[in-house]
Symmetry: C2
Subunit: 521 residues, 2 copies
């Protein structure tokens, strides 16, 4: 007869996550998560990474999920702690990043007395995805497996498990579970055949690709399919969660942000959706339709979360596309010479970074000022990966870089980051230092919320008033990013000219450990 | 015939808030709030204060509401922006602070298309209080009046109004509204008479006071009432939203944080609740009851949100208490001499600050390390006000100090602040600099989450393991608070000994504008 081994509910939960291949936990725990802290301490297979703010935990889990294509854990404290992580979970939801949030709750018998920290955790968590709540100490392992199925399901997403503190610390029997199977959605032959007819038809068509189609194979397949059509072009969704770019990959164009430009780019063409959602204006503007393409002009190749790569392979086959023979045309390089003493501006920053980019770099871009320019400028340089802000909740960049660096420790990570957004989650710099991550943060320090000033001008305020400047300028006093980085343990430098940036990039991109460069412009 | 004057829905809303006496807006707007930004720009009666993170907006509104006893506005961007403010709204909800949150939503016709930034704003906002949503451009003025009634109602609290962007910018007729009346809850004669019988009875009784009873008059009334009882003592609730302390006010004891100590302090006595809630353990611990006093031992003098001061006056009258003749007994001063070169520790910090306290100071305390010690040490010094963290969501202190300083520009504000908590909302320092606020931030830099280490020891981990230290120490690298403050535009100094702190307090408490002192201990 075997002896029954007993351990805590928290130990059982962590054993189950290890069994599921989970090996990172971004943690900012409190008193109701201490049994999970002890269980993580006893489980060296999981790397527990302390973050000093919950938005860093969740943004890091998003970056990790995008690169590893499997979930990390987050560990946050009750409703208010979790609430601090919602903004970046919103981005993760839009990115279809797999994430499992663990939240300790009050002891199951204690909540009814409404202690100070009690709030409606479930209501908060439901706004970003699946929510489960453990109902007994013995269920914790099965509960986290269910959360994993939700996170890795079709489509992938954010799953939150709420675990009362008494269930974490109660003793339960040790047992093992087989890894759950994930259902797969088969590709629909009718959808493929319909798309093939549209591609072969003489009408203008756009193959709008997104999600998992943005790997090298997906982009090459899409370009090859378009080459077989008479008037078919490929376009990339507005804010990709992750896209592979650079040498060997066709330099495809991206759907513009402002709806007037997006409408012009789409030009009334029919649209085949391959991993992308139907294009919608980012905000609602008077006189501009919400739907950038009418519903009856759209054909969906594969439903959300379906296997888009398999569908593109089937479509390429249906139209006899020749992927091997694809000639990758390059965007012409801008030839305007950068003068060494020129002050920095978005275009020069984009170009200098593209020129200095190390092979295999992961570039997390946030903010309007330089990101689009860099996307275009780097189309033809060394192969690299770009992660963008999918949901518009700002403060993604610095934590997302943390997660990407932990998922891919052998690749350089660059965070091309606007200053306004970085201030929401600057605490991520400390985690970069603590974990000695290979992240270079490039702060575009233009000392304003540039997008808001642009929108105020679009709304007719040609001369920004003092009040409008007061609410959109990050000055009086200026933010000193070199001091902030040093305060959080990251070496930092300030640059103002093209020459200074080029020289500094040459150094920092070859250095180990985190660095920050404030690019005043 | 009068000409009908037309202005935007946002203008009408801001005119209504001005009519209600609202004159401050803590703002971190986005594209869907720009019509409100323009309306604020055109309404100089409202001071628009830019905050670089939404948790600063809401924490500042909490501090403002506690001191001014009327609401400030917050202005945040859609669901993810608002979500960043929830933690401090949780504290505000527990403090019964009046606050009106304005959130711009997508244009009313645009949300259905699920643009990237859409999420369930109403579900998020419902977790912290009243929620309204404007249903037409013409309703904005009336909607914000309804929000004001909710914020200033019985009890006061957090009210959130969601305003679609198209309603903000639509033209509406100008018109004025009378200020709404607020209903008042009369004091119950039966409740007063019942309390009087308990006070006069020989059984041990505690008059547990909180909320609006913590003004000087309320505390003097409570002490006078207790003096008429045979075995009646007064005790202050665990985490007061606001309490007046110092010379002329009885130095009353406070309900301890840890439940074992709280149970001992209550000693099985009957309890009369006067503005305080029934005492409940902060967290649930095995073998300790959630209710620190059984329900049948509790008498409620006045229901939540009722006029507790009026009730205490009636009770004093019923027991013939003589408030004029109250002799205020003082807690004996600790006489252990502080040596100049002693390193700093919580007790010495508390005493040095109490000794240096300027008259009329508002002291925002957050964190376990020094706050309780200061509360006791300063009982007999100059009159001052203390604001504590009512809900346990950390990151309250720096923004709360912003709000208190704006509500009371002639009073010095001191933020006695633990380092771990301060990192959640350090962006508040920039707003202190931008608005030239008279705030001195004293960072207790012990470089750890002290409360978690204490709870781990309570849970049996006598020697903290490396993993446990990794998740509870704010070191490797150390946070450099002097650099962080300078990065955000605030002058800062680091001190390590009693002499250095005493000298520095002598300087910074007499200086204009914000300062930060890192107290390494």
């Amino acid at each position: 007869m075997n002896a029954i081994v007993r351990h805590t509910g928290a130990d059982a939960l962590v054993a189950a996550t290890t069994n599921l291949g989970i090996d990172v936990c971004f943690a900012n725990p409190g008193t109701t998560e201490l049994a999970l802290v002890k269980a993580l301490d006893a489980a060296p297979a999981t790397r527990a990474v302390l973050c000093l703010f919950e938005g860093v935990c969740t943004g890091a889990a998003d970056g990790f999920g995008r690169m590893a294509k499997r979930p990390a854990l987050t560990l946050t404290h009750l409703g208010p702690g979790f609430a601090n992580g919602i903004a970046n979970l919103h981005n993760a939801r839009r990115a279809h990043s797999p994430i499992i949030n663990l939240i300790g709750d009050h002891a199951s018998w204690h909540s009814a007395y409404d202690p100070p920290l009690r709030s409606d955790i479930d209501a908060l968590a439901r706004t970003v995805g699946w929510v489960g709540r453990s109902s007994s100490p013995g269920s914790l392992a099965a509960d986290v497996e269910e959360a994993w199925c939700a996170a890795m399901g079709t489509p992938r997403g954010v799953a939150t498990l709420v675990v009362p503190s008494d269930f974490q610390s109660a003793l339960v029997n040790e047992h093992s579970h087989p890894t759950p199977d994930l259902p797969r959605t088969p590709v629909s032959c009718a959808d493929i055949a319909g798309a093939a007819r549209i591609v072969e038809d003489p009408e203008a068509t756009i193959l709008l690709i997104g999600g998992d189609a943005l790997c090298p194979e997906g982009q090459i397949l899409a370009a090859s399919i378009a080459a077989k059509g008479q008037h078919t072009r490929v376009m990339i969704e507005m804010f990709p969660a992750r896209i592979e770019r650079g040498a060997g990959i066709p330099p495809l164009g991206r759907l513009p942000y402002f709806p007037e430009q997006a409408l012009a780019a789409l030009g009334g063409a029919r649209i085949i959706l391959a991993g992308a959602r139907a294009p919608v204006s980012y905000f609602g503007y008077e006189g501009i339709p919400s739907e950038l393409a009418p519903a009856n002009s759209i054909h969906t190749l594969v439903p959300e979360g379906g296997d888009v790569l398999e569908a593109l392979r089937a479509l390429a086959n249906a139209v006899n596309a020749e992927c091997g023979a694809l000639s990758v045309s390059r965007t012409p390089r801008q030839d305007r010479k950068l003068h060494e003493n020129d002050p920095l501006e978005p275009a020069s920053i984009a170009r200098l970074l593209a020129d200095a980019l190390p092979e295999g770099a992961i570039v997390v871009t946030e903010g309007s000022s330089c990101s689009i320019g860099f996307f275009d400028a780097a189309a033809a340089v060394v192969p690299h990966t770009i992660l963008t802000n999918t949901g518009g909740a700002i403060g993604l960049g610095p934590p997302c870089a943390v997660g990407a660096a932990l998922a891919c420790p052998d690749r350089p990570v660059i965070n091309l980051q606007s200053d306004g957004s970085a201030l929401y989650t600057l605490q991520a710099l400390w985690t970069q230092a603590r974990e000695r991550l290979n992240v270079v943060t490039l702060i575009v320090s233009n000392r304003r919320y540039g997008i808001l000033q642009m929108e105020l001008r679009r709304a007719g305020m040609n001369e920004l008033t003092e009040g409008a400047l007061g609410l959109t300028e990050l000055s009086r006093p200026d933010i000193d990013w070199v001091a902030l980085a040093r305060g959080l343990g990251v070496e930092a430098t300030r640059v103002r000219t093209c020459r200074e940036l080029a020289d500094t990039l040459g150094t920092v991109l070859r250095s180990a450990g985190p660095r920050l460069v404030e690019m005043v412009c």
